[in-house]
């Protein structure tokens, strides 16, 4: 699908120089008074991680690496049958365990003698009699039907078909003076992520600072007393906003780094790469995001234990696929809102539009940063985030090791050295001979900013990416 035309937006919007100098301002004709009134804030931004940090807070970690534990699978076990096996009436069958049920290099599985099994398609019950665990990744086990008049077979078949799901039923019908059954050990999975360093800077020369530029950016009296001119303040302000956007982009769509030829940073896995890897992805054809598709999505949410209140961030194209009909058909209705980012106030502040379907409140919001056209003014032929949406549950999950409750998404940070000077873990400092804090003889005023951040995405299986072709 074609993108949004952007030929009316001038490129580039900024350039890189070692320091801002007077010549640059002349080149851009910013000194000419008739232009400056047109130089306004034209392109808006809607940051998700900053909104989340504001309403839900951030969590400080003391080390660059942090980790948490999640249950590896569902509480109730089930396995599959690897190959079709003929099943006679009342006869014991020998089955090969499906590939997904192995652990520890194929030497451990959930199978245990005396476990009751129920066939998913026919609900016929059987019991495991013996297990042959001599070959890794190729365990076989014998199962006898509990009724002599039944075959241990799939529905409508004389055989137990390949891929048939066998539900575990515990040590049922254990008999008199029964013996102990082996326990089932619930497995945990450790997940890691790293805090990464994100920085930017602003620098201008003495002449650039002193020039009368006709800027009317408001500079407070105390900043002016520190030598901050309107021009410096404007440059710093623009850099800060861009820095904020870059932090947002890194935490949302950025990924880890392992190319040591660049530097030794490990980077951080952002929310979307994490969900792409470990979450569910639902494909759709643009123009067909209808009620049937929403039902498919809520079914997936149900299976994965998704929170009843979820945010759905969409790009502009996907947002337009939500017809007014869908919003009208499923109004938010009566719903008990939560606290923090789940509060009605936070929802209103962020501009969510809500629908209530199949017991799930979906707070839909256009996320402008998905569309390259909106953020940069360029139109890619293929844009990864065109017709893209992210459903994130506003829920909590317990760390399976410590039982500590974690929100599905938390913004993590390390406190910068000397502490944050703006708050929220961002350190901003000035240096150079032309700065209020002169550090050398070169007449430049340099401003640097850095933050140490990451996100923790817990229970990524509950997240859904809704991605158009």
């Amino acid at each position: 699908m074609a993108g949004i035309p952007t030929s009316n937006i001038l490129q580039p919007g900024s350039i890189s120089l070692q320091t801002q100098n007077r010549q640059l301002m002349v080149d851009l004709q910013l000194l000419t008074p008739q232009y400056y009134k047109q130089y306004t804030e034209k392109y808006g931004n809607e940051d998700f991680t900053w909104w989340l940090a504001a309403h839900s807070g951030m969590e400080e970690v003391k080390n660059q690496n942090f980790f948490w534990f999640e249950n590896r699978g569902k509480l109730m076990p089930a396995v599959t049958n690897d190959a079709t096996v003929a099943a006679a009436v009342g006869a014991t069958v020998t089955l090969t365990l499906g590939a997904e049920a192995y652990y520890n290099s194929g030497t451990e599985t959930p199978l245990r003698v005396n476990e009751t099994l129920r066939i998913a398609s026919s609900n016929i019950e059987g019991v495991i009699l013996t297990i042959d665990d001599s070959v890794p990744y190729a365990f076989t086990f014998t199962v006898a039907p509990k009724q002599t008049t039944q075959r241990f077979a799939s529905a409508g078949s004389n055989s137990l078909l390949a891929g048939e799901v066998l539900l575990f039923g515990g040590d049922a019908d254990a008999g008199e003076a029964s013996t102990q059954i082996n326990p089932l050990i619930q497995l945990d999975e450790r997940y890691d992520n790293n805090i990464t360093q994100i920085r930017d800077g602003w620098s201008n020369t003495d002449l650039a600072q002193m020039a009368d530029t006709y800027y009317e950016y408001p500079v407070s009296a105390d900043m002016a007393a520190n030598g901050v001119s309107a021009f410096t303040y404007k440059g710093m302000y623009k850099t800060l906003v861009r820095f904020k956007n870059n932090v947002e982009a890194k935490l949302m769509r950025g990924n880890a780094q392992n190319n040591t030829a660049i530097n030794n940073s490990q980077g951080t896995q952002g929310i979307i790469p994490k969900v792409v890897a470990d979450g569910e992805t639902v494909g759709y054809t643009p123009g067909t995001l209808d009620i049937a598709k929403l039902h498919e999505i809520t079914r997936i949410m149900d299976v994965n234990g998704c929170a009843k209140q979820s945010a759905w961030l969409t790009d502009i194209f996907q947002r337009q696929d939500f017809s007014d009909g869908i919003f009208a058909a499923y109004p938010a209705g009566a719903f008990v809102y939560g606290q923090g980012e789940k509060s009605k106030e936070a929802s209103v502040a962020y501009g969510f539009q809500e629908i209530f379907i199949d017991g799930y409140l979906l707070s839909v919001k256009k996320y402008s940063q998905f569309n390259t056209e909106v953020t940069t003014g360029l139109t890619p032929n293929v844009d990864y985030f065109r017709n893209f949406g992210l459903i994130y549950p506003m829920g909590e999950t317990k760390d399976s090791r410590t039982a500590q409750a974690y929100k599905n998404i938390t913004v993590m940070y390390q406190e910068p050295p000397k502490g944050g000077t703006v708050g929220n873990g961002i350190r901003v400092w000035q240096f150079g001979g032309g700065s209020p804090n002169p550090t050398d003889g070169t007449m430049t005023n340099q401003i640097a900013m850095i933050t140490y951040r990451a996100t923790r995405v817990c229970a990524a299986n509950q997240f859904i990416i809704v991605q158009g072709n």
Partner: protein, 297 residues
């Protein structure tokens, strides 16, 4: 007179004998029908996502705009449960509610999708789908792609790799000491060990074979090539000061008579550029090569 209960016959319940026979007959009838039913053996076709890091499921929408191989134009396909054709052109007249309720998604679970061979509609959809990397008629770019699992193709690829490795190791073990030294020079295999001592021929050959095993394709591309010979000769000529690249930066001269060889671009390394220069078809390059050959390295 003894009662039935007293002689242990009460449980026989002669009154229900007809019902018991009927039940047994029905069970046998059903069992016979099931036993004699033709066996249905399903063959599954396996499809896999190209993204090997995808752990969660991918629910692929059964709609796409694809190239129609016979009508030679882009048409929409839509996979519907209970309808044989996937082409929307052939689905005209279907009720809107039927279409809405029967749209199908195909689910890749941990990258894998299994489709039985009788599900011809799904298989046709997958074959014409733009996300299928094996589809010769695919159009546009898809963010999530898949391929049909083909163990024979994979076996061929793996075998080809193994054969290439064997051939490279064979070449490395059979090469003469002289050829090996020249090729080692070209490949950048060090002639000294980590303590700076010259490697013995056996040690050098071991490293040579290790290189062949680790990078068989790169090894075989240059094995026995003219470029290897020239690279060795140029390096020797530079080491023996027969070519001078330092007297004037950016130029190469013969040391004996000061004859000009060529200019060397500032971005190029002299040795690599001289090798490249010697292989050019022009007369100056041929003369340079002839002169190099006279050194008999």
């Amino acid at each position: 007179m003894a009662r039935l209960k007293a002689v242990g016959l009460s449980d026989a319940n002669f009154a229900n004998q007809g019902e018991e026979i009927r039940r047994t007959r029905q069970e046998e009838e059903s069992t016979t029908a099931m036993s004699e039913a033709p066996q249905s053996s399903n063959i599954f076709k396996i499809f896999k996502l190209t993204d090997t890091k995808k752990n969660g499921k991918y629910h692929m929408e059964g709609i796409d705009d694809v190239f129609h191989p016979e009508r030679k134009r882009i048409e929409r396909v839509r996979l519907l449960t209970g309808y044989p054709s996937i082409w929307v052109e052939d689905q005209k007249g279907l009720e809107k509610t039927f279409v809405e309720k029967n749209r199908r998604s195909l689910i890749f679970d941990r990258r894998v999708l299994r489709i039985p061979d009788y599900d011809t509609a799904a298989l046709e959809f997958l074959s014409v789908c733009n996300a299928n990397v094996d589809n010769p008629n695919k159009k546009g770019t898809r963010k999530i792609t898949f391929f049909q699992w083909n163990p024979e193709r994979q076996a061929e690829v793996e075998r080809a790799k193994r054969v290439a490795k064997i051939e490279a190791i064979k070449f490395a073990s059979m090469a003469s000491d002289d050829d090996m030294r020249k090729h080692c020079n070209y490949l950048g295999i060090l002639f000294n060990d980590e303590l700076g001592m010259p490697k013995s021929m056996d040690t050098l050959r071991n490293d040579y074979e290790l290189y062949a095993e680790a990078q068989p394709n790169k090894f075989m591309i240059s094995a026995g090539s003219k470029e290897v010979e020239i690279a060795y000769t140029v390096k020797k000529a530079l080491l023996d000061n027969k070519i001078d690249v330092s007297v004037r930066k950016g130029s190469a001269y013969w040391s004996n008579d000061g004859g000009f060889i060529c200019k060397i671009p500032s971005t190029a390394k002299p040795q690599a550029y001289l090798v490249e220069y010697a292989m050019l078809p022009q007369d100056e390059s041929k003369a340079f090569l002839e002169q190099l050959k006279k050194f008999n390295y």
